[in-house]
Symmetry: C2
Subunit: 198 residues, 2 copies
């Protein structure tokens, strides 16, 4: 800034006697200014390096300005969050509470999502199968996870009847009741899944 006292046409290749007198204070100031701008450049480089690795991680992010890139990064993070949440929802660990959830995926769709969580027992799969068969429902997809004597089963079911959802819910609820409501008297027959030790 002090150099602004001299005209801007003052190029570095001009004769030295045209340059301003140099004091010790000027030297210190110049040195400080230089290290300052160098440090600032290092900072910019660090930021831009991270920006560039982000560009490699995000698809189609070449040819995007910084703001757009960061915008897509936030979208990407939010999408991944949502995915993870839905995965842990649809294929979750069995909980402590018995429950049956049935709902139409879309209105007019014959796809139905059904879920049951209850104590494990060896006949359960067969019972569910025969129940759904009597309802003329087809199991398109099944995902069953068991832990500690409890079991959670998620189904994607295809059914022609429009009232199938409520029938399925009734049938599964009946299975759940016949499982849990033994006045504490459970079947003595061997479970397929054993309780986890410790």
């Amino acid at each position: 800034m002090e150099n602004c006292y001299w005209p801007i046409l003052n190029h570095a290749d001009e004769p030295p006697w045209l340059l301003p007198p140099t004091s010790a204070a000027d030297d210190r100031a110049a040195s400080a200014s230089r290290s300052h701008s160098e440090a600032e450049k290092r900072r910019r480089d660090r930021i831009n390096a991270q920006l560039s690795t982000l560009r490699k991680l995000i698809p189609k992010s070449e040819k995007m300005d910084k703001a757009a890139l960061l915008g897509h990064v936030v979208d990407h993070v939010k999408e991944q969050r949502q995915r993870a949440k839905e995965v842990s929802k649809s294929s979750s660990m069995p909980s402590e509470n018995d429950e049956v959830v049935v709902d139409q995926i879309q209105d007019g769709s014959e796809q139905i999502k059904a879920s049951i969580c209850c104590d494990d027992r060896p006949e359960l799969f067969a019972e569910i199968g025969s129940a759904l068969k009597s309802l003329e429902a087809t199991i398109v997809e099944a995902d069953i996870t068991s832990l500690g004597g409890r079991i959670r089963a998620n189904f994607v079911i295809s059914a022609a009847s429009s009232s199938a959802a409520s029938h399925i819910k009734m049938a599964l609820t009946r299975l759940l009741i016949s499982s849990g409501s033994g006045y504490g008297v459970r079947s003595k027959r061997q479970r397929f899944f054993y309780p986890t030790p410790r």
Copy 2:
């Protein structure tokens, strides 16, 4: 920049007659400079806005400088990528090929991961259960998914014996063979999971 011809002590509150003469060219230049700096500020604001929303998404990112924040963002994205990859590995859809995979989670650990992929049939679970019971192995965790008459079952098994892993692999392989190698003659008994229509 042209203003640099005047001393920097030229404050705004000084008498106007000390100010440089104003030409139409100067006016245009000043206006351009102003809109330029305003546009640049808008750009900075867009970038910083995204940075700020990223800060809300990343935990513990308050009090982090921009470079550190972006660094943690890349880590976060990579971690989520890895998580998603491992989830789709551990709980995968059944494949076309029969297979049995068994391996110790760690040396000296009694935790064993076992996986079987084959055609679905109603007695399969019971067979696996009795096979593992005869090996004194305990099913700690089970995850079974079925699609299109095929089934994939992933287990986490706890077994005391050090040779349990190979025994488990033999037992599961035997089940797989008794399932597929019927010279095309499959059990006529009703499957629990039906093949998906169309």
